[in-house]
C-alpha cells in the first residue's frame, strides 16, 4: 500500500535521508524508530506530501490518515467544530452525516473524551488535545495511517485504548506506519524500520 523509492532529503549540507526505499502492505503495523534528529518526522512528512524530497518517489494506494507529532488542531474552535471542519476536508460532510457522526462518537468513546465535545480546544489538557489530534486522522476510516508519535501525552489507560484501536485497524486490513520510541513490545510490529545516518538499517 505504501511504496517509497530512493527518497533523499537534505537540509543545507546535512543529508537527513539517503536513498530510503521500502514497501509496506495492507494489514500490517510498522514502526519507524531512530535517535532524535534521525529523520523520522521528515520521512513521515515526505510520505504524506507535506515536504518535498530532493529525489525519489512515494506511491500510496488508498485514503491516507495522518496524525502529526504536535497537535495540529484549531485551538479557538470547539472539539465538535474541529471534527466538522476536518469532515468537510475529507468530503464526509456532503455524504451521510449519521455515518461519520457515529464514527466520531465511537472514536471519542474509545479514547474517553466525548464529554468535551462542546469545549473550546484551548481549554483542554494536552492529553485531550492529542486524543482529538489522533481522532481527526481516523474519522474518515483511512486505508493508510501515518502516525508520528501520537501518544506522547496519553495516560496509561488511554495508551491501552489507543493500542486496541491500532490493532483493530490492523485486523481490518489497514496499513499503519508509526514513529515510536516504545519498542518494549516490538514483537507486535510486522516490520521495524530503524533510521540511522540517513538510511534504513
Amino acid at each position: 500500500m505504501i511504496t517509497a523509492k530512493n527518497i533523499s532529503k537534505s537540509y543545507g549540507k546535512k543529508e537527513i535521508l539517503s536513498n530510503v526505499s521500502f514497501a509496506i502492505g495492507a494489514g500490517t503495523l510498522n514502526a519507524v524508530v531512530g535517535e532524535n534528529g534521525a529523520g523520522k518526522s521528515t520521512l513521515m512528512k515526505i510520505l504524506i506530501g507535506e515536504l518535498n524530497a530532493d529525489k525519489g518517489m512515494v506511491i500510496l494506494n488508498g485514503k491516507v490518515g495522518y496524525c502529526p507529532q504536535n497537535s495540529l488542531i484549531f485551538s479557538m474552535l470547539t472539539v465538535e467544530e474541529n471534527f466538522n471542519y476536518f469532515a468537510t476536508a475529507y468530503g464526509l460532510a456532503s455524504q451521510n452525516k449519521h455515518l461519520w457522526i457515529a464514527r466520531r462518537n465511537e472514536l471519542m468513546d474509545q479514547l474517553g473524551f466525548r464529554k468535551y465535545l462542546h469545549y473550546q480546544v484551548e481549554h483542554l489538557s494536552g492529553g485531550t488535545q492529542q486524543k482529538l489530534n489522533l481522532s481527526l486522522a481516523l474519522i474518515h476510516e483511512p486505508d493508510i495511517l501515518i502516525l508520528d508519535e501520537p501518544y506522547g501525552a496519553f495516560d496509561w489507560t488511554t495508551y491501552q485504548h489507543f493500542r486496541e484501536i491500532i490493532f483493530d485497524l490492523k485486523d481490518q486490513g489497514k496499513c499503519i506506519v508509526m514513529v515510536t520510541h516504545l519498542l518494549n513490545d516490538s514483537e507486535q510490529f510486522d516490520k521495524v524500520f530503524t533510521l540511522k545516518e540517513g538510511s534504513i538499517q
Binding site: G49, A53, L60, N61, L72, F74, M76, Y85, T88
Partner: protein, 260 residues
C-alpha cells in the same frame, strides 16, 4: 471552488477571529481612543493644503481637527486591517496545511479568509465613517468611505502577505506596524506630504491613493476616479501575492501518486 468547503471554512475563520478577545478589543477600542484623542488635542485653526491627486490644482481649507480626524482614521484602518489579516493567516498556517493534506484546496482556505477580512474591514470603516459624521459632514461621505475601504483592503492584503511569508508572530506584527505607522500614520498626513521633499517616495507607498481619495472626497468636489484603479491594483497585488505564496507553500508535493 467547492461551495460547501468554502462556506465551512468561511464560518470557521469567522468564529476563530471573533473568539480572540484581543482582536475584538483592538477593533472596538483603537478607533474610539484615536478619535477621542484627536478631538481632545487637535486645534480648530484653519489650514490650507493641496489635493495632490487632483488633475487641476485644488486647495483645501479645513480645520486641523477635521483633517486630523480623517488622517487618524486612515492610520487606524491601516493598522487594524493589516493586524487582523496577519493574525488570521499566520496563526493557523500549519493547521491549514494539515487541512490541505486532508482534502482542502489552499485557494478555498485563502479565499474564505479573505471573505472574513473583507467583512471585518467593511464593519470597521462603517463604524469609523459614521463616527466622523458626529464631528463634521464630509462633502462626499460615500466616496470618503470608498477611500477608507481601499485603505483597509490594501493594508488587509499587506497583512495577509506578511502572514504568509513570516512565521514568527512578533516579527509579523512588527512588520505590519512598521509600514502602517510610517506610511498611513505619518507620511500620508496631508500637512507632512505637502511640505515633503522627494514626494515620489511617499506616492509609491500603499496608503497614498486611498488617503488622497478620502481627504479629497471629504473636503472637495474634484473628480478622483483615476485613483480608484490604482488602489484596486495595489489591493490585487497584495491579495494575489498572498494567495499565490500560500498556494505554493500549502500544496501537496508533486512527487506523490495517490491512488484512491
Amino acid at each position: 471552488m467547492r461551495w460547501n468547503f468554502f462556506i465551512t471554512s468561511l464560518i470557521m475563520h469567522f468564529r476563530m477571529l471573533v473568539r480572540q478577545k484581543i482582536v475584538l478589543l483592538l477593533l472596538l477600542g483603537i478607533p474610539v481612543l484615536f478619535i477621542f484623542i484627536v478631538q481632545l488635542t487637535a486645534s480648530k485653526r484653519q489650514i490650507f493644503f493641496e489635493v495632490a491627486i487632483a488633475t487641476t490644482k485644488t486647495m483645501i481649507k479645513a480645520t486641523e481637527a477635521n483633517v486630523s480626524l480623517i488622517f487618524v482614521s486612515m492610520a487606524t484602518i491601516g493598522f487594524l486591517s493589516s493586524f487582523v489579516s496577519l493574525s488570521l493567516v499566520q496563526q493557523y498556517k500549519n493547521v491549514n496545511r494539515r487541512l490541505v493534506i486532508c482534502g482542502y484546496n489552499p485557494a478555498e482556505l485563502m479565499v474564505s479568509a479573505l471573505g472574513v477580512i473583507f467583512f471585518i474591514i467593511v464593519l470597521l470603516i462603517l463604524g469609523i465613517g459614521f463616527s466622523i459624521q458626529f464631528f463634521f459632514h464630509p462633502v462626499h461621505f460615500w466616496s470618503m468611505l470608498l477611500g477608507m475601504l481601499f485603505n483597509g483592503l490594501v493594508y488587509g492584503g499587506y497583512g495577509m502577505l506578511a502572514g504568509c511569508i513570516i512565521n514568527g508572530a512578533l516579527e509579523g506584527t512588527l512588520m505590519v506596524i512598521l509600514l502602517a505607522n510610517i506610511d498611513a500614520g505619518w507620511l500620508q498626513n496631508p500637512l507632512i506630504f505637502s511640505e515633503a521633499r522627494n514626494k515620489i517616495i511617499i506616492q509609491l507607498l500603499p496608503a497614498y491613493r486611498p488617503t488622497q481619495l478620502s481627504v479629497g472626497a471629504a473636503f472637495t468636489d474634484v473628480p478622483l476616479q483615476t485613483s480608484i484603479f490604482i488602489c484596486f491594483a495595489y489591493m490585487l497585488f497584495f491579495f494575489g501575492s498572498a494567495i499565490i505564496i500560500s498556494y505554493y507553500n500549502m500544496r501537496i508535493k508533486r512527487m506523490h501518486k495517490i491512488k484512491k
